[in-house]
């Protein structure tokens, strides 16, 4: 019987990561006071473009990309505190998607593909991953096909809700060829407007699009094919869950702060409403949840900085996402309620939180999805071992 997962309490934080975190917190503090997040909610353009440029200048787009390709070669887990800081000011960007694409290239790209694409990602060309063929993060079958006919590779299929597609210059499309997983690297210019339908999302800080690929021609150089691709696909799902958890944890902190602030200023019955235990105790519960989210998160980040993701890292990522989803959903739900009718307004920041929570729980699998897989990892392994 193995319980190594319980005893693995790995938590590391080196000087480089500390510096990264500090600059992220500074940057995000400026973002908060600038009001740029609110300005962009209903704007046509995807994300505050100049903000992404600033993030690139800070080196974030290349954090996990090797130095020879223009990055700084830190572990991919180093992005976790950065994404948490962004989540804490509700700032969205293509950072996570771009990092996932870089991870895919690093692990499975050919020499030539690494050389052509990684420097572009490091220098701030945004990327997106088109993974799902439907709305089910648990589906294993890949529907979109990569077909070869008359000596020409061609895509056949469509992908809904491709996160960050509106800003992406490069699209990494998951498809199958004769039942085997492939990724296709598309330039944005290869899709015409008819193939590209922007989505209207509940979280208005986010941008995504639903894409139609049928008939898109692909050259051999654009195809990622690797014996370990299936395993790396699993890694992308886990890292995606981890990044979403990082952002959700930050957003839960944003939500908590928003609620606490109101509880300290709003008066009813001649008292500050924060003195009512019916409000105070649930808010303390949220803080306690948040503390647990952070612990799981930094642990998962530590394990993901190792070369390939082992069993313990998988357990850690799934736990981090399961708890962060539940925590944010609850924190945001209570934030609206504890603001009274003010919480029902568009002006109140609780709306940012509750909308983020619905988006975030779905992304890369909700809590129940991850707990189900954890059950297999934690309960069934006992019998086999």
């Amino acid at each position: 019987m193995s319980n190594s997962f319980l005893n693995n309490l790995g938590l590391e934080f080196n000087d480089e990561q500390a510096m990264l975190l500090e600059s992220a917190q500074q940057f995000c503090a400026d973002i908060r006071s600038s009001g740029v997040v609110r300005d962009c909610l209903l704007a046509e353009q995807p994300y505050p473009g100049e903000v992404w440029q600033q993030m690139v200048e800070l080196g974030w787009s290349g954090v996990s990309i090797a130095e020879e390709f223009g990055g700084s070669g830190l572990g991919i887990g180093s992005l976790v505190p950065v994404l948490e800081a962004c989540g804490k000011v509700m700032l969205s960007s293509p950072l996570a998607s771009t990092a996932l694409a870089a991870h895919l290239l690093t692990r499975c790209g050919s020499k030539q593909q690494k050389k052509s694409y990684l420097p572009r990602l490091a220098s701030g060309e945004a990327a997106c991953l088109a993974l799902l063929d439907n709305h089910d993060w648990g589906a294993e079958e890949i529907v979109t096909q990569l077909i070869k006919a008359d000596d020409q590779w061609r895509l056949h299929g469509s992908k809904p809700l491709v996160m960050d597609a509106p800003l992406a210059r490069l699209l990494f499309v998951l498809a199958q060829h004769n039942g085997e997983a492939r990724f296709v690297i598309l330039e944005r210019s290869q899709l015409d407007d008819g193939q590209f339908a922007p989505d209207t999302l509940i979280d208005q800080t986010k941008r995504s699009a639903s894409l139609e690929f049928t008939g898109t021609d692909v050259s051999t150089a654009q195809i990622i094919s690797h014996s370990e691709l299936a395993g790396v696909l699993q890694e992308l799902h886990l890292l995606g869950a981890l990044f979403t958890a990082a952002e959700a944890t930050g957003s839960a902190a944003f939500t908590l702060d928003t609620t606490v602030e109101y509880l300290k200023t709003r008066k009813q019955f001649g008292r500050l409403i924060g003195s009512f235990q019916a409000l105070k105790h649930p808010v303390v519960d949220i803080l306690n949840d948040l503390n647990h989210c952070r612990s799981l998160l930094y642990h998962a980040a530590t394990l993901c900085n190792q070369q390939s993701l082992n069993n313990d890292a998988e357990v850690a990522c799934r736990m981090a996402k399961a708890l962060a989803s539940d925590t944010l959903v609850n924190a945001a739900d209570r934030a609206v309620q504890f603001h009274g009718a003010m919480g029902f307004t568009y002006e109140c920041d609780a709306q940012l939180a509750i909308r983020r929570a619905q988006w975030s729980q779905a992304m890369f699998g909700d809590a129940a999805h991850h707990r189900k897989r954890l059950a297999a990892l934690l309960l069934d392994a006992r019998h086999e071992a």
């Binding site: 309490l9 647990h292 059950a375 006992r382």
Partner: protein, 404 residues
Amino acid sequence: MTTADTETRELQEFRREVADWLAANKPEDPGFLLPQSFMEVGSEQVLDFLREWQYKLWSAGYLGMAWPREYGGGGRPAVYQTIADAEMRKARVPICFNTIGLGWAGPLIIDIGSEEEKARYLKGILSAEDIWCQGFSEPDHGSDLGSAQTRAVRDGDDYLVNGTKIWTTLGNFAKYMILLARTDPNAERRYDGLSYFLAPMTVPGIETRPIQKITGEYGFTETFFTDARIPAACRMGEEGQGWKIAMRTLQYERGAEAGAAGGIAIIPISTQDLLAMAADQQRDGQPVLQDPSSRDQLVQLMIEEKAIRLSDARADIPALCTDYPFSLPLSNKLRTSEWSRRMRQYAVSLQGNAGSRYVGDARAIEGGFWQRAYLNNFSVTIGGGTSQIQANIVGEHILGLPKS
């Protein structure tokens, strides 16, 4: 080779040494029920057994390892005791029951006590010769400890103490009590009227009446003071400083302040124990571990357990505690005791009909261990400050919310 390597090797060797000693010296099953915590010592028989065990552990050098040598301690870095404690848990040896001395009064005396107090009390705490109890709670004042009414009136070189304390763990065995009593009923702030004593339990005028607990045994007492003469020399600090010292005591009790002598005060129970028990249980004719709803419940408990353990580890890394930096120990204490309660109740529910049996029934699963463990768990969600009071503290001191 760096020093860190040498140290690690030294510690590894020490770990092995403790493990070997424990394997060779772990007491045989005495044939009667041993307590799951220091709050469950209800008979002389149990007391004698645990006293002998603690003495043996201390004589071997595995208790009070970081306490000063001149007072019976080992004078070594705290990490040795941490390792010894971990090995004790692993070997599942009996508890060290003199917790109120080892964990609370002892560190308090080391930190703020006089030379004389250190010389008089510390060694007896470690050897288990002197058992300690705590006289804070009163029948009418529990959570509202600051309103405690037990009176201490100065009379020459003594104080005359009158009043009633209650829920006194180990009260009928203790030689000393950390006592909170009111020396000035007219103080402007009620907190300022309190004083703190390292009081002998052996003077005339102190009587204890055992109280039967929810679990069935008699682990605590009601303690009556009738003109009990406590020497003024036993007062710790000045008159009126009792509240401050009592709050400091609670810091040790709640684990927010280090310095405990070591040993296991409460048997730890993990989800691994729960899984071992659940592996033999059935639901709908299937092993419980294959039942989807049970699986989800178990995983939720395991996620929380992992988060609790990681949070303990994270509290030692300041760079990872930048938000609400002081919240982690408080918030985790609250979580740990509440998680543990839910986990244990769930364990009883997993037993199906067998969950209705209790300690004493030969057919009870694991001798009724989980039923007893569940009931016992309320000692940590009530004793030492209830979960609700803890939540108030976190809300007010950490989040800055207004007082209730």
